[in-house]
Structures are given as C-alpha cells and as structure tokens.
Amino acid sequence: MVAGVAAVFFLLTACTKEVPVTVVYIGDSTQFNPKPYTIVSPWFFPTQMNIPADNPLTVDGVFLGRTLFYDLRFSGYQSADSQMCCATCHVQENAFECGMNGAFPNGHPVGITGIATPNVMLPVVNLVWQNDGYLWNGLIHPDNPQANRRSLEDVVSMAVYAHHEMQSDTNKARNAIAVISGYKPLFKRAFNTETITFHLMAKAVSQFIRSIVSVNSKFDQYLLHQISLTTSEGNGFVLFVTEQGADCFHCHGGDGNPLLTTYQFYNNAKDSVFNDSNDRYGVTGDPMDHGAYLVPSLRNCELTPPYMHDGRYTTLDEVINFYSEGLVNSPYVSPLMHKIANGGAHLTPQQKADLKAFLLTLTDYDLTSNPAYGPPPSFP
C-alpha cells in the first residue's frame, strides 16, 4: 500500500517536438527514489553538460531547487522588507535577468542594503553548457585555487554572502529554511535526509539553475526546418555569420554553435583605459586579458538590456551602432575584432535593421513562459 502519493508536475518543453512533456512524481513522500531529470534539447545542441558528479540532476532535486530559488526566506532574514531570493533579480519573463521593466529600472540590480553589483547581470540560462568559468570574468572555475570559488554551487553561496546581493550568511539562510517543517520531506526526497544544510540548499538551487535551458527560439525552429525566416531576418543572419558582413559568429556562434556564445573572454574594443579589477585580467594576470569579459549568449538579448558588462548600452540599436562604427583600439583588443582598424563593420541603415531583425529571432518565449521554470504551486 502506498503510504501517499505526491504528484509534482514539471511541464518541460520538448523543443524538438514542441510537445510539453509531463513528468509525474508518484511515490511515498518519505522515500528516497531519485528519478533522473532529463534535459531535452534539439539535436544540434552540445551533448556534454557541466553537471558535477556529486550533484546529478533529479526530478526532486530540481523541484526543491526551484522552490528555494523563489522562496524569499532563502536570504535568512525574517523581516519582509529584507527578504530576497534568486528570483528577486533573476526574473523569468526577462530571461532570468532583471531587465529594465521591473524592480531595477536601470537594469543594474542592487542588493538588500542598496549596494549595486559590480557589473550588470548575466542570465542563469543554459549554464549547463557553460564550461570555462562563471561570472563576467570567469572567476568561478574548477582550477581556482580557492576551494569555495569553483562551481555553480559556490556561486549560490556567494550570492548569499555578497554585500551587493543578500548580505547574509549561509547559517542564517540554512536556519531560515530548516525551521520550516514542510521542507524536510522535500530534502528527504531530493537528498535522502531531513537534515537541512546550506550545502544541500546550494546543490538543489544549482540543479534547478542547470535545468533552465533556452532551446526553442524562432532561430532554433529555423534550424530545425520548421519555419522560415523573413527576408530581413535572413539577411541579418547572413550578416551575422559572414566575416565580410557584421562578423558576429566568431564570438557569438550561429548555425554551428546554437549557444550563441563561445563562453570565452575577450576585449571587444569598448575602451582604451582599463582599471576594472573585476575584468578577466583580475583573474588570470595575463596582460592580454585587460578589459576582457565573458562573451554573453545573445539568446533572448531582446529581453536582457542593458548590454555589455557595465550596462552602458540600453538598446540593441546602440549595441549594433557600437559594432558598426564605435570600436576603440587598444593593445588588448581581441584579434577577432579584425575590423578594429576601421572602427567597425560600417553597416548601412538597412543592414543594421536586418541584423536587429535577426537578433530578435533569438527570443525564446518557451523559456519565459514555461511553468516548470516559474514559482512552485506553493511554498512549504
């Protein structure tokens, strides 16, 4: 006799078929019966995923992480005006950035105490395929000599501690969750223990973040031969992937790299003076990394202003104008910016419009509306 039936519905979008997949959990709420969580993506996405061996994705782990991701008590504060969670800044409708339409109108989030983050946000989307270091400078990397600066789980901890984010500590956060009796069965199902630790909280949140994938934009549907691009979008795509055009693809991928980034770190010719200690040079000490930052994915760029690491551009038009005629030379510019001598690609107004039309095909409305990525039906 089954002691109880717990049904948790995960509406995952099977983008290869455009059919929602319902994963149903059935079992005793006190049993540990981990069911692997499967990430579904079109065939042309990478097959190698950045999932640590000690934290595989399970249906229950992802669900617990999703609940914590949206639970304001995660910050460890009791007062409602001090509470904060991952979703405070990582907003689903804005492709898991804060955007410029919500709590942070300038697109630059501030923490509980009003201190702004050093840089603007990066989306927590498709991180399961990011291998060469998290954050704008790649600080979080398996080779980091600091043992607590190596994994996505460490990034979750940093968000709790950081004075420009939650400014809390992991004990407070753990205590705030551990006193909620309804969380115990969720931890039991996810990790086979009712003893709640921050270590497990970070693991669960990381599982949920790794489950967030953007794989069903109009561009993906085009690559699957399900739809056609308009003439303008198609012209923009050609500009995107041609060296004599806008030459975006060497850094931002394309039909052979659907992540729309190489996840490498480059100086993209924004400045000639470099004094940001949080740039890539601050991590590697390699002089060629002055002014270098992570190449962000262009997926959902329509939803993720402001742009560049410091948010200096608020519209895609400004970004396109920069790459067209605003490049600034310095000894540290990546050689992939090979139009540097001319200051940019010098696109015509029509070409700029076409390029923008293509960029808008990268928006994934499944990502922004998928209930599996939204708040849980209820909190414990």
Binding site: V241, F249, D255, N257, V333, L336, M337, I340
Partner: protein, 267 residues
C-alpha cells in the same frame, strides 16, 4: 617391358611429386604491435612560438604577433617500408590542435600499429568533404570552429589570429582562416555560385620512423608559422588581413601550407 618402364617412371614421378606436395603445418606468425603518438609544436624562424608578443617580422616586412592558432589534422596515413599503408580507425581520424589548450598538443593514438619501419607520414590539413559536415562536432572546443552553412558549412580548417603594425603604424588584427571557399557571381553582388574544397594533403619530409613492439613512438610535428607567409607566396597583411570569403587569398594560403610542416625529434 616398355609398359613396366613406363609404370616405374610414372610411379617414381608420383612419389616425387607427392613427397614434394606434402603440406607443412601452417604456422601463424603473430603480428606484433606498437603505438604512435604525436606532439604538435609551433615555431617561428626556428624558435618556439611566443604568443601575444610583437616580435616577428614576415617576408613582406610586417611586424606581427600571433595570438592563437587552432586547426584540424585528419586522415593520417603511415607508409610502411613494405609498401603498404596504415590508416587510423574511426575515432582516431581527426585531431584538433589549439595553442590555447595545451592538452591538445599531445595526441596518443589508441590504434595498434604493426611493428616495422615506416618511410613517411602524411595527413590532411583540415577536413575533407566527407568529414567536413556541419554539426558533426557538437561540443566545444571543436564546435567553436564551425564554418557557417551559408559559406559552405563544416568547420574552419584553421584559425590563425594575430596582429600586425599596419601602414598607419596602428596595431591591426589579422584573421588568417582557412575553410571551404566560395565562387561568386560576377554580376550579382555576394551571390554564391559554388564552393571550393581547400583542404590539402601534407606529406611530411624526413618522417621515417620505426614502431617497436609494445613501445610508443612519438613524432613531433612542427608548424613553422612564418612559412604561411613566405613560401612560395609572400603575404603582406596590409593587402589581406582576413581570408574568409576570399578564395583567391585562401588559394595562396594553401599553396604556402605545403611547406609549413616539418618533423622534429622522433622518440
């Protein structure tokens, strides 16, 4: 009597032939194997490449630096001294080299190689038309080498990126990239009429080596970077600093490619 003689001769002949035809037992001589590995290195003017440093001068007089070089070698063929050829199996037929990823400079081929003396090593620089299909490499770093489908698809054979001091004394960037070329309509601007396979075969000079039983022979394959820019075609970055969509430039580059590789110590 004649019959007797005939029968005797016939008998003796039969005895002779049958005795000669007695089959010796077949002895299987086991084939012995060794292994081979490759070490890919990059030189400029006989010295190990120093990246990110403006210290080189090419035949055209350009002061230049190399930031990174990334490329595919494929279909390695070993010619045995007995005239036979040995090719690697599936999984060992393509190797990616990336100067930013030290682990790619060493390639231990898992295939068992018959022992013996070999007279030469040859390989394809890049990928031939059978292998060079879009999305055959789904994971980085190889996937980052993709060559847009619009331009013929598949992958860059090579990205060689760097900078040089241009005629205005500015530090400019060059992208010396090889892959599938295009032919363009003479009238309609940017209209592609066909594609050109630019991969080429390299037969390494002085590449004789020996494979010994249960030993690994390591061959150093050297890319002599300056030769991309001087033999036989002198390359001036002021005239061409980006090769994609420029088949004339890529043709000149692959002509130089035939002299680029040499063999270092074989151990």
């Amino acid at each position: 009597m004649k019959n007797f003689r005939f029968l005797l001769i016939a008998f003796l002949l039969l005895v002779f032939f049958f005795s000669c035809k007695r089959e010796d037992p077949i002895v299987d001589i086991p084939i012995k194997y060794g292994n081979i590995g490759f070490q890919f290195t990059h030189n400029v003017d006989g010295q190990a490449l120093v990246v990110d440093t403006l210290i080189y001068t090419n035949a055209a007089g350009n002061n230049y630096m190399v930031n990174e070089v990334q490329y595919f070698v494929s279909d390695i063929v070993l010619q045995n001294s007995n005239g036979t050829f040995f090719s690697f199996g599936t999984g060992s037929d393509v190797h990616y080299v990336d100067s930013d990823l030290p682990s790619t400079s060493t390639w231990s081929v898992p295939d068992n190689i018959p022992v013996g003396s070999y007279t030469s090593i040859a390989f394809t620089f890049g990928l031939n038309e059978v292998r060079n299909l879009s999305n055959v490499f789904l994971n980085p770093p190889e996937s980052n080498m993709f060559w847009p489908e619009f331009l013929g698809g598949g992958y860059h054979y090579m990205k060689l990126n760097g900078k040089w001091v241009d005629t205005a004394s500015n530090l400019s960037a060059f992208n010396f990239h090889l892959g599938i070329g295009q032919t363009y309509d003479a009238v309609v601007v940017d209209s592609i009429t066909g594609f050109v396979q630019n991969y080429f075969t390299v037969t390494l000079p002085n590449s004789a080596f020996t494979v010994r039983e249960d030993k690994t022979t390591t061959v150093e394959i050297i890319m002599n970077m300056e030769k991309w820019f001087n033999t036989p075609n002198v390359w001036d970055f002021n005239e061409c600093s980006a090769t994609m969509q420029n088949q004339t430039a890529m043709q000149r580059a692959i002509e130089n490619g035939g002299t680029v590789f040499s063999v270092g110590p074989i151990q």
